[in-house]
């Protein structure tokens, strides 16, 4: 009985997608509110065309572009300035033609620009007589805080500094939301803003005039795969209804409603479409229990297969390592190095690999591959330690009996090492449950989704919706393995 139910759980966890008949499409979003809102609108409009459309939240520009060209997603909202400066690194006269080389189409602009700009408190700017960016040259002591991407991008700080000859030395990376908070409480003087940010109006900030026209125009557009026009022409037509339909003020207001008033982006997007008499269909409303059931299912779908695969690989590896000293050292060193790769870096390394192997670079398979690699070390190391730690007289007794090598391994050595191996599996499982939350970064779902979204929005209840179950699951896993260890110990008397 027990065996059957475990089997059922594995089967459940193994089934990756629910069957669907309707054509499906995935609309990607970058990890900030405006992108979520636009992707929501795109999904809602596409559903009206009878397409099963879902939104998938991915990382930053390179991740989205990779996902789009690989076909992991079908469309996402992008800005023309980012396309020229960051994606193409070129300013072609015909942007659409340049993109079609990659099999990508671009819609007409939605009507608003989300330009980069520099922002300051109105009172501190007035006190120093600053109104435009070139005025900053006379104030080298200003504390500037930008997001890391802005610090790195050629169309960000490096280009801006060179174009204006800016002298500021105190320039550091900081999270966007925190930089706004710092600006308000005067621990930061200058930060980069996006002209549609809800916070500009909320805190009544001054947007410095770009008097040398350094920042390009960031017109919001759809990027979508050319093949979508044949696969789901209705959806493309629907999505393109956003063209010329959103003003800067409207976008600012929607951002503010989500960011400041904590409204749900799907609701804000839906109301906007309604107000514009654009027909969309909302996704079905989910209750907390529904959401928990889905995130738990998704989380287990990452944890169980990765742990099982790690078991199948790392126990034999540990056995081999215990037999051949030099190979053993190499195996332990390799798995040790894997463990030190930062998890986000590992996910990015794996994306092209899983794309090549499985046809999809984002989503659960990539996360499972990363979790698998992370689970190897504790199990390999403990299998190795457990086997090499067996007392020599016991090992000799087993050999003296005349058992075959396999029988010695199976009937004596592995059972003797079992408590140590089990402890390794426990460690791997607990780490695995925690690390799986990073799956949120690559659209693998699980508890990481609400956690990351909650952090972005500063929405603590949403964060806890992922964090508490993740912690609980780790505690339960720890407890179950603890019971198993006790049970084994009791059998030994």
């Amino acid at each position: 009985m027990r065996r059957t139910s475990i089997f059922a759980i594995l089967l459940l966890a193994g089934c990756s997608e629910r069957p669907t008949q309707k054509p499906t499409m995935v609309i990607g979003a970058k990890k900030f509110t405006e992108s979520y809102l636009l992707a929501e609108m795109g999904a809602s409009l596409s559903r009206q065309a009878g397409v099963e459309a879902v939104r998938k939240d991915l990382g930053s520009t390179p991740t989205l572009w990779l996902a789009l060209t690989q076909g992991d997603i079908d469309a996402y909202p992008e800005y023309t300035g980012t396309i020229t400066r960051q994606i193409l690194k070129d300013n072609p006269s015909d942007l659409g033609a340049a993109l079609s080389v990659y099999g990508i189409r671009m819609s007409k602009p939605f009507g608003f620009r989300n330009n980069y700009a520099l922002g300051m408190r109105k009172d501190s700017a007035a006190a120093r007589g600053i109104a435009k960016i070139s005025d900053l040259r006379n104030h080298p002591d200003l504390r500037c805080r930008f997001i890391d991407e802005f610090l790195d991008r050629p169309d960000g700080w490096p280009g801006l500094r060179d174009a204006y000859g800016l002298p500021q030395k105190d320039v550091k990376g900081m999270n966007h939301t925190l930089a706004y908070a710092g600006l308000v409480e005067k621990s930061v003087d200058v930060t980069e803003v996006y002209t549609t940010d809800g916070e500009i109006a909320q805190h009544d900030l001054l947007v410095l005039d770009d008097d040398r026209h350094f920042f390009p125009a960031y017109e919001a557009v759809w990027l979508y795969r050319a093949d979508l026009e044949t696969r789901a022409p209705g959806a493309v037509a629907q999505m393109r209804k956003l063209e010329g339909n959103i003003s800067e003020r409207e976008m600012q207001e929607m951002n503010s409603r989500v960011q400041v008033n904590k409204a749900k982006e799907s609701a804000v997007a839906g109301e906007f479409l309604m107000a514009k008499s654009l027909r969309g269909s909302a996704a079905e409303e989910e209750t907390l229990a529904d959401r928990l059931a889905i995130t738990t299912f998704e989380h287990l779908r990452l944890v169980i297969p990765s742990l099982l695969a790690a078991l199948l690989v790392s126990i034999p590896l540990g056995i081999v390592a215990s037999r051949r000293i030099r190979l053993g050292q190499a195996v332990l060193a390799t798995t040790g190095v894997l463990q030190t790769i930062p998890s986000l870096a590992l996910l990015l390394f794996l994306m092209p690999l899983t794309k090549w192997l499985l046809g999809s670079g984002i989503g659960a398979p990539t996360a499972i591959a990363a979790l698998f690699l992370y689970s190897l070390l504790p199990i390999v190391r403990n299998t190795y330690t457990g086997l090499t730690g067996i007392a020599p007289p016991l090992r000799e007794s087993a050999h003296a009996l005349g058992l075959t090598r396999w029988a010695i391994l199976w009937r004596v050595e592995l059972p003797l090492a079992a408590p140590t191996i089990l402890a390794g599996i426990k460690t791997a499982a607990v780490i695995n449950v925690g690390t799986a939350t990073l799956g949120g970064f690559i659209g693998a779902g699980g508890y990481g989704r609400p956690i990351l979204r909650g952090i972005d929005k500063g929405d603590i209840p949403m964060m806890l919706e992922g964090a508490i179950p993740a912690a609980l699951m780790a505690v339960i896993v720890e407890g179950v393995f603890g019971l198993a260890e006790k049970w084994i110990a009791r059998r030994r008397g």
């Binding site: 007289p393 016991l394 000799e396 007794s397 005349g402 058992l403 009937r411 004596v412 003797l416 030994r492």
Partner: protein
């Protein structure tokens, strides 16, 4: 039964044993004795291929003991070490039955054989279900003996089997062991560093020093006809209790 032909073993470049040529006859109890590090345990391990000689050869029943033949040799030879060498994850019964179960003996045959051995070694049947660390030292040794005898081997090797026991248990087990050896009429090779114990069991004693045989004979030979001064010293070093005379 066993035959060593110029066998030698080195550990880390240092000679631990040999070269030694010796014949161990069937049906007799041969005791290997000598000070620590004399090579007596090494010799015992060579007999069933737990280690392979660097020079010379080892034969069992006229067949060379090699990696290829070691397994079949071991199944015909029982091996008992100090404190029994029992596997802590198995019960006493599980330890005794391990090899038979691996060879897929029917359950009834296993049970019958265990009952027979429990009677022979005077081991209480109800203690068979216990795990090794719930048994006394003497009981563990009896289980180790049962495990070695399970497949009814032609020879029995024992490496300091009584070394870890207190004197009373040790004396009792010595008596039982000798009775068992006599009853079974098997080839027995026993390693000890205690001359009294050696004399108690042995048909023949082989005294080793620095990896070589110093004297090979009966206990009486060692006592009365020592081959060299070392034998005399070794014999005299084994002293009985010296009780001071009591004042009248």
């Amino acid at each position: 039964m066993f035959h060593l032909d110029g066998a030698a073993k080195r550990f880390a470049g240092r000679t631990a044993l040999g070269p030694i040529s010796v014949e161990i006859p069937a049906g007799k109890t041969t005791v290997l004795i000598g000070p620590s590090g004399c090579g007596k345990s090494t010799l015992l391990r060579l007999l069933i291929g737990l280690i392979t000689p660097d020079d010379g050869r080892v034969f069992f029943d006229r067949v060379a003991v090699t990696d290829a033949t070691a397994q079949s040799v071991r199944r015909k030879v029982g091996y008992v070490i100090q404190d029994g060498g029992l596997f802590p994850h198995l019960s006493a019964r599980g330890n005794v039955a391990l090899l038979a179960r691996h060879l897929a003996w029917p359950r009834a045959r296993i049970d019958a054989r265990i009952a027979e051995l429990a009677e022979l070694t005077r081991f209480p049947l109800d203690a068979l279900a216990r795990s090794p660390n719930q048994l006394s030292g003497g009981q563990r040794q009896r289980v180790g003996l049962m495990r070695a005898l399970m497949l009814d081997p032609v020879a029995l090797l024992l490496d300091e089997p009584l070394g870890a026991l207190d004197p009373l248990v040790r004396a009792e087990l010595q008596d039982d062991l000798r009775d068992i050896f006599r009853k079974l009429q098997k080839t027995v090779v026993l390693v000890t560093h205690d001359l009294g114990e050696a004399a108690f069991f042995a048909d023949r004693i082989v005294l080793l020093k620095d990896g070589l045989i110093v004297q090979d004979g009966t206990a009486a030979d060692l006592w009365h006809r020592p081959a060299d001064p070392f034998v005399t010293r070794f014999v005299q070093a084994q002293r009985g209790p010296q009780i001071p005379a009591e004042a009248a």
